[in-house]
């Protein structure tokens, strides 16, 4: 480790006690192929603190009842907690009301809900949906599906040379036919943070709604949906140190109110006849069937856990790690780092000359370093970058400078193995 890096990490230690934080995450105690785990795949899914695991277990151990339909005490307890977490989420993202918070199965499900409920109801042949070249497949394919269903057209807004969104092109493409602008808050490949507020203002001038894929922003940035000015915001609990199987879709009251149901089933109805039904108001209208109850308990625990963090310090810490990793990687011969100019989250993407990203991934795994190699569910962006795949490292506040050392050593080792 170089001198400047050491002093930088010493500085950070004052503001962020990473060893204390690491102790909260049991998965960090495992080893991989004889090496301590260096988990640098946080953008795929985050590790969970003990308290989240306990929160999930608490539901199963002490409650284990269904919500919203029971007169008995365990069911009331479950319902009360379920709704309390909904309020907690509303406060966490600055929603105007808990009724704007819909529990879904994940970011992907939330984006599909918007596309298939709002989109299918509002889009007409020839209408346009703008997406960006930087989107995850989960914010592209739902729009492809609804376009095929309605006759609407999907168009992609390109990136600039700086790997940020080309706002001039967006402005040009924002015709009166555009009904939906679907953008990520932060890119899962490059970390680019898009200027949602500005995009929303531009889109709203043309009467388009703005759907934000917040999957990669929510673990890093303070999100206030009111300030962002968007219309929908989707994210996953599992990337926010919470359980799998749960996502949140936030939507503006006025929009949710006029949207038809997406899925039908128990809990979302007003009245059901054999041959037709009427529906409950939001958020219930969009929560058909038994919801992910244990998962909501776990998310509540995750938000409680995050309350114990100085999140500004946490983000500054993980950003410093990402910068350090980017710098050291760029210093290796044959390595290309793809970094956007401007605001970004702690994700770093790179390639190594003459070694395929999968081979780098395997070589790093052999040293206990967990990274992602592939197209990262962002094939259009790969084409834009002119590569079939990349290696991605993504940071969380429990990562340590030692993880970066392991990464750098591992890449060097791969280069030696490959004679590159």
């Amino acid at each position: 480790m170089s001198r400047s890096v050491m002093s930088a990490s010493a500085d950070r230690a004052l503001a962020w006690d990473v060893d204390r934080v690491r102790a909260d995450f049991p998965a960090l105690r495992r080893s991989v192929r004889g090496h301590p785990l260096a988990y640098l795949d946080n953008a795929a899914t985050a590790l969970k603190p003990e308290s989240v695991i306990a929160g999930v277990a608490e539901y199963y151990t002490q409650v284990s009842a269904n919500v919203a339909r029971g007169v008995h005490t365990p069911s009331q307890e479950a319902t009360a907690r379920f709704e309390a977490v909904r309020e907690r989420v509303a406060a966490f993202i600055g929603a105007a009301s808990p009724a704007e918070v819909v529990f879904t199965a994940g970011t992907t499900a939330g984006l599909n809900l918007v596309a298939q409920s709002y989109g299918a109801a509002m889009l007409e042949p020839g209408d346009e949906i703008l997406v960006t070249e930087i989107e995850h497949h989960s914010n592209l394919v739902p729009w492809h599906l609804v376009a095929a269903r309605t006759g609407a057209v999907v168009r992609g807004v390109p990136l600039t040379e700086d790997l940020t969104l080309d706002l001039d092109r967006l402005e040009q493409m924002l015709s009166d036919r555009v009904r939906v602008v679907a953008v990520c808050h932060a890119s899962n490949v490059l970390g680019t943070v898009l200027p949602i507020k500005q995009i929303a203002a531009m889109a709203h001038r043309r009467g388009a709604v703005v759907v934000v894929d917040g999957a990669q922003a929510i673990p890093h940035l303070p999100v206030r949906v009111g300030d962002l000015g968007c219309d929908f915001y989707a994210f996953s609990a599992h990337k926010l140190f919470g359980p799998t199987g749960l996502g949140i879709l936030w939507g503006r009251t006025e929009l949710l109110a006029k949207m038809p149901p997406w899925q039908g089933g128990g809990g979302m109805i007003a009245q059901v006849e054999l041959t037709g039904s009427t529906y409950a108001p939001p958020p219930m209208r969009f929560e058909a069937g038994t919801p992910p109850i244990a998962e909501v308990y776990g998310l509540g625990a995750a938000l409680d856990y995050l309350d114990g963090w100085d999140r500004v310090a946490a983000t500054r810490y993980e950003d410093a790690l990402a910068d350090e990793a980017a710098e050291r990687l760029a210093g290796l011969s044959g390595v290309t780092v793809y970094r956007p100019r401007g605001p970004r989250v702690s994700v770093v993407t790179f390639t190594v000359a003459d070694i395929h990203p999968h081979d780098i991934g395997t070589a790093l795994d052999a040293k206990g370093v967990a990274v992602r190699a592939g197209h990262h569910c962002a094939q259009p962006l790969m084409r834009r970058l002119g590569v079939p795949a990349t290696v991605r490292v993504s940071f969380a506040p429990y990562n340590s400078p030692a993880d970066i050392d392991a990464l750098i050593t591992g890449v060097g080792h791969a280069q030696r193995v490959f004679g590159a």
């Binding site: 919203a68 339909r69 029971g70 007169v71 069911s75 009331q76 319902t79 009360a80 709704e83 809990g267 109805i269 007003a270 009245q271 409950a280 108001p281 219930m284």
Partner: protein
């Protein structure tokens, strides 16, 4: 007295058996339906308001003892009150059934003493039943303040 006896006080059981003002109201100024889709309880509430005064209230429908007795006792409690006092009484009632009756300012106002309605204090031990106790009240508020709104579905 057990939680259960506290909940099902004699007065509640009596109103459940023999609900007052259990009929439609000709010449009503407002009407609303209150439904709880999760349990199927459904009530129609009619109200006649003149010059800011609740002259008459009636209801029809079906539901559990709590919702039915609450509707019945509501009709007798608000009759003759001003709209403003009816609103305040509902706020007070809501505090009591949810167990949040801490606002002593309200208590000192004689127009807002709950009287018989305090029989519903036992509901606070059974939070899921709050919807039952307030179902007709929500419909009444809709009938008074948005007489054209029609159905008022509450969900937990």
């Amino acid at each position: 007295m057990s939680d259960l006896d506290e909940l099902y006080q004699t007065l509640i059981l009596e109103h459940n058996k023999s609900p007052r003002n259990f009929r439609a109201l000709a010449g009503a100024s407002g009407h609303a339906a209150g439904r709880n889709p999760l349990c199927g309880d459904t009530f129609d509430v009619w109200v006649k308001v003149r010059d800011g005064l609740v002259e008459e209230v009636s209801f029809l429908g079906q539901g559990c003892a709590i919702s039915k007795a609450s509707a019945s006792m509501m009709t007798t409690a608000v009759k003759g009150k001003t709209v403003a006092d009816a609103d305040a009484l509902f706020r007070r009632f809501h505090q009591v059934v949810t167990g949040h009756a801490t606002d002593s300012a309200d208590l000192s106002d004689p127009k807002l003493t709950l009287g018989c309605l305090s029989a519903f204090a036992g509901v606070s031990a059974f939070p899921i039943r709050v919807k039952c106790a307030t179902l007709a009240w929500h419909a009444l508020m809709t009938a008074i303040h948005s007489p054209d709104a029609g159905v008022n579905s509450t969900t937990p």
